[in-house]
Structure formats: structure tokens, C-alpha cells
Amino acid sequence: MTVWADLVGQDAAIETLSRAARAARAVVDGESVEPGAMTHAWLFTGPPGSGRSVAARAFAAALQCPDGGCGVCAACHTTLGGTHADVRFVVPEGLSISVSEMRALVLRAASSPTQGRWQVLLVEDADRLTEAAGNALLKAVEEPPARTVFLLCTPSTHPDDISVTIRSRCRVVTLRQPPAEAVAEVLVRRDGIPPNVATWAASAAQGHVGRARHLARDPQAQSRREAVLAVPRRLTGVGACFDAANALIEAAESEAAASTSAVDAKEKAALETALGAGGTGKGAAGAARGTKGQITDLERRQKTRATRSQRDALDRALVDLAGFYRDALVSSVGAPVAPVHADVAGQSAAAARRWSPESTLRRLEAVLECRAAIDANVKPRIAVEAMMLALWRG
């Protein structure tokens, strides 16, 4: 089983990456390769769940593997497991990478590979780098050391996601949304999820592998999804719209809090320990002032992450909701396509009979506009309220 096995439904990308890995091996072996056959900077783009970071990781393994990504050797294992000495992962997550951290990473990536092949710096969510950290990265990407490879992942090549200058230095690998069957197949094969659950979850997750896995395993994720899918029939009037908006926002907040609060506390405790909080003696007052600054800084970054995490949770809910209206639309025009939410297909079909196709389409657009609005920084509550009202009126 090669390193590409978990890259679901991405044949074109796998082809490109394997060819580059072969060229990279030739470079390591001292053979001459055509200019451009191997590139030092790669940009992996694609919708959430399409496997950007999976692809980047697999490619990193293929670069380190003597066999171009056999999937079984030590180099493949350590790379995929995140412990290879020459592969560094950067996962900004909202706790943004500071400029100095980024400089250190870049410096490290410039050193010679300890295993004699490549130094790889893999930045997941490169769209979440701060501008300053991005600039530090840009300098390295502009003049890459001979044996260094940068792998960046962003949702798209839009300037909001990645600076135009970095983008212009990168070779772009575009991943597509994998088909549900391919996702279900991975869930069964790799995660041992029963086929019927895998099929349902893959369809409900609309091609998002991680989300499908989460949905198949986590009862809370299942009940959150049920609550979202109940929204259309709850919208009985203006007041109900605001209640539904409030419920959706609060669910996103508590989901985000559940995922971040434990990490927050751990990070803060670690920082306090590192700073020796409560110290006395000479210079303790000055140290305390510096300490306070660092803790404030950590709290600020954690707040950013919490906000981001709320928006992500809200976006997942909106994607579920969009699926419902998409199913209604499919049903109203009689298209021979499988529903996203097979388990509530009866409800979406019933809704489709009540609504005109035009108003169903307007509803679907309202959900998509809400996602775009939140992405454009509109206050989530305002965007969701406007959407609920539009969904009610149709």
C-alpha cells in the first residue's frame, strides 16, 4: 500500500506528485533532470476535507522514501507519523506562528537534510499565517536552498488565502472534492467503520473525509447535525427565525469551547510553569511584568483561535443546512442524483413539493450567501439571522 492510499479520489494530483517524487529521487541520486521536473515550493489547494494536508504529507513521504512513497519503509512511516527528522509540520490553527518562530523554522529548513534526501517544511492552513510570518516564509520560498522543499496548504489560491508573491513561487496542486463512495471506502478500510454507517456518513459529510469519520464515530456530532437538519421545519415565523439563529450560534460556540478550552488551560499552565510564575527575589518584579505580557499574548492568541473555531463549527452546520436545500432542489427538479442527507430525504422531498423550485433555489442561495458573509467577516449572528429570515420567507 503506497503513501497515496489515503488520498481519496485524487488521481490527477497523485499522478503529478508521483512524477515530481520520481524527479526528486533522480536529483538525490545525482542524475540530471529536466528543469521544472521537481519544484521547491508547492501549494496544495482544495475545498475543506479534500485532503490538502493528507496530500502534502504523502508527498513529503514520497520525497523521503527511497522508493518514491512505498508506504511501508521507515522513511514513509516516520514522515506520515510526524516524526521524521527532516520533515517539520506547521499547524497554525489560530495560535498564529510568530515571526521569530517562523524564522527559526525557515532557518532549520535551510540546513542540510540529516538523512541525505530533503528538508521539508509543511505548513497546514497557510491561509492562517499572520502577514509577518508569511513574509518570513516568503524570503525562504524566494531563494530556496538546494535540498529544501516547502509544502503549503490553503483552501484556494485567492489572495485572501495566500499572498500573490508566495503563490507566484509555488506549483499548485488542486484537489477536488472526493466522491462519497471513495470516502466511504476509506472509512471502511482504514477506520473499520461498518459499511452502512460509512456510506451514510460519507454522504452526509459531502466529501469531507475528516468530517465523515467524525460523524460516523461521535454521537454528539450526530445530534448536532440532527438539530441543524431540523431547522427548516422549525422556521414558522419571524420569532422562530431568531430562536433558530440563536440556537445555531450557541451550538457552534459550545462545540468550539469543548474543543479549545482544555487545550487553552494546558497551554496556559505550561506557559506559567515555563515562566516560573510566583518567583521572588531580585528582578522578580520586572520578570513578573514580562510574564504578564506573555500570558496576555497567549490569551489573545487563544481568543483568536476560539473565534476561528466557532466560525469553523458554524460553517460545518451551514454546509449541512445547505445540503438539505440542495436535496430539496434536486428532488423538485427530479434530478437523478443521490441526496446528501439520505436520512431526511423524505423531509427535503416534502419541502420541495411545498415550495416552488425558484424559492427552493433562493433558500439554498441564502445559506451559501451566509457562509460567504461570515467568511467576509460579517458578524456571524447578523448573517445567520438574515439567513434564517430568508429561509423562512423563501
Partner: protein, 334 residues
């Protein structure tokens, strides 16, 4: 010798040889009632000697001396503040005195009411003291009335809208409200409207946004645009203004769809302060559900525009004002 009386303030009229009890815990109003009584007593007897004590610091001996008939006859005004703190023997002495007050003495006892020192307040009442009760101001309506009457008292004029704007800017503290009223009356011709308030409290973005939303929601386009231009002119950021517009539409929509019921019930159900509910109930007239959908849409678009999507954020706000007012006018696009 007859002197003019304040016809509007009978409760606070001071008669000579009277015992007065000012009861209630609205501190500003209590202090004013005491002040009025002292003024009246001294108006009646300009040479009267005024002594003031915190009741809790007074000992019975001092009190007896103050209340005993004077050899030289001079009139005296004795003010005891925080009567609820008075010690037992002081209370006993006061109650004994209240049954047969001295002709030359005006005794004014201020008491917050309530359980503490109830023996004194009850005892003075049954001894026939003249009671002036100062109302507790807690309801939004009462606070608005306080501001309008306060301005009137100072010789100015202010409507409910201006009063609400002032409360939104200054907060609920009566002393601060009173001093804001006196500043506004002193610095203007006394005619205080929403714009006057905005001008004085320009630093407070929420007031500016509130004014814009408020006018837009009742269909007062020119008022809303004026408030908007003013807010932008004095440098208020567009984002809180856009938020205020959305909040205004949201509040009207939620209150309008909450059905009938008192402002307090609705406030409880919606988790909103009652004054907000009352205001929204007034503003909700003329709105249909469809119109509210359009208005909320406009508010969301405006929010997107001022968050950076638009080159001209002022224009985006103006458009939202027009859209909200037009939605109300048209009763909804579809």
C-alpha cells in the same frame, strides 16, 4: 408673616415646629427632599441655626441638647441623615420628642426605609411626623419621566426620545443623569433633542448608532441620515453604527413577534432589558414580518460592506438607512 409656598411640592413643605420624615432609598431624591425642607424652614425663619448630623454618629446627650428649649429662643433646623443607623437610645429620644415637638425646632429625619431602623420610621409616623416618600426609580418609563421632568425643572424642554438617548449615553444613575440634564440645559437654549444629546456624548459610539437605528426604524429617513452624518463627522467608526442598525431591526423583529404581553413579561422571555422592549414596541408599529425580513437583509449587507467589502462605508450605511425605511414603507418586497 405669610410667605410664598411651592405649590408643586406640598409634601416637602416645612412648617415650623414640625417633625419631618423623608423616606425612601433613592439617594438623589431624598437629598433633594431634605434640601427643599431646609430651604423652606429657612425661608420661614432666615435666622434659624442649621445643624446636620449623621444619625449613627449622634449620641443621645447631644440630641437632647439640640432639642431642648433654648433660653434665647432662636429657631433651629436639625437634619439627621441616615436615620436607619441611629442607635437605640437616640431613637427613643427622637420618638419621645416627636410626641411634643418644640415650637422653635424643625426636625428633619432622612431614612432609607426598609427593615433597618424600622422602629424609628414607624415610630415617627405614628407620632404624627410629616412623611415625604421619595419614589424608587427603577422602571425605564420612570427614568425617562425623571429626565424629562428634571429638564423641565431646570427650565428646559426634552421629549421622551431625547431622554432615552441621554439615558443610553449616561446610564441609569440618577445623579449622573441630573448633572447631565443641568449641563445640557445650561449649555443650550434649553430645547434638548436627540441631536443635542448626540453632540454632547459624541464619544459614545453606541449612542450615535442608536440614534441612526432609532430614526430609521420609525421611518424618519432625514433624522436617520442627519444622525448618521453627524456620527461620521465626529469620527464614529462605521462598524458600531452598522451593528446598531442590525440590533435595532433584530429587537423590533423579536419584540413584534413575541405577541402581546407586558414589556416585563416579554423582556423576561427574550432576555432583554424592559426599556428596550418598550422602545421596540413603540417602534414596531408599521412593520410587517416581510418588511422585517428585508430590513434584516439590508442590515446584514451593510455589515458586510462596512467590514471592508465596500470602498465607501458611509454610503453603505446611508443605503442601509434607506433600505430599512423603504422596507417599512413598502411592507416587504414580496
Amino acid at each position: 408673616m405669610s410667605r410664598p409656598r411651592h405649590p408643586w411640592h406640598d409634601g416637602a413643605m416645612a412648617d415650623r415646629n414640625a417633625v419631618h420624615l423623608v423616606l425612601g432609598d433613592e439617594e438623589l431624591l431624598a437629598a433633594r427632599a431634605v434640601g427643599d425642607l431646609v430651604a423652606a424652614a429657612r425661608a420661614a425663619e432666615p435666622d434659624a441655626e442649621l445643624r446636620q448630623y449623621m444619625a449613627g454618629e449622634l449620641v443621645a446627650g447631644e440630641l437632647a441638647e439640640m432639642l431642648s428649649p433654648s433660653l434665647f429662643g432662636g429657631a433651629r433646623v436639625l437634619v439627621l441623615r441616615s436615620g436607619q443607623d441611629a442607635k437605640k437610645d437616640v431613637i427613643a429620644a427622637l420618638l419621645a420628642y416627636a410626641k411634643s415637638p418644640d415650637d422653635d425646632v424643625t426636625l428633619i429625619v432622612q431614612h432609607v426605609g426598609g427593615a433597618k431602623g424600622k422602629a424609628l420610621s414607624d415610630g415617627l409616623k405614628s407620632a404624627g411626623a410629616k412623611v415625604a416618600t421619595v419614589p424608587k426609580i427603577s422602571r425605564p418609563r420612570e427614568r425617562v419621566d425623571f429626565v424629562t421632568s428634571e429638564v423641565r425643572r431646570l427650565g428646559g424642554k426634552a421629549g421622551d426620545a431625547a431622554a432615552e438617548a441621554l439615558i443610553a449615553a449616561v446610564g441609569n444613575d440618577l445623579r449622573e443623569l441630573a448633572s447631565a440634564c443641568s449641563q445640557l440645559v445650561a449649555d443650550t437654549d434649553g430645547n434638548i433633542d436627540v441631536r443635542t444629546v448626540s453632540r454632547y456624548y459624541k464619544g459614545r459610539a453606541e449612542v450615535s448608532g442608536f440614534n441612526v437605528a432609532d430614526a430609521a426604524l420609525v421611518g424618519d429617513v432625514s433624522g436617520a441620515l442627519e444622525a448618521l452624518r453627524w456620527a461620521l463627522h465626529i469620527g464614529v467608526d462605521p462598524v458600531p453604527i452598522a451593528d446598531a442598525i442590525a440590533d435595532g431591526v433584530r429587537t423590533v423583529a423579536r419584540v413584534a413577534s413575541a405577541g402581546r404581553g407586558s414589556a416585563y413579561q416579554i423582556a423576561g422571555n427574550l432576555g432583554m432589558p424592559p426599556w428596550k422592549v418598550e422602545r421596540a414596541q413603540r417602534q414596531a408599529r408599521g412593520w410587517t414580518p416581510d418588511a422585517l425580513v428585508d430590513a434584516m437583509q439590508a442590515a446584514a449587507e451593510c455589515n458586510a460592506a462596512v467590514k471592508g467589502g465596500s470602498d465607501d462605508r458611509a454610503y453603505a450605511l446611508e443605503r442601509a438607512v434607506f433600505a430599512v425605511a423603504a422596507a417599512r414603507q413598502g411592507g416587504g418586497a414580496r
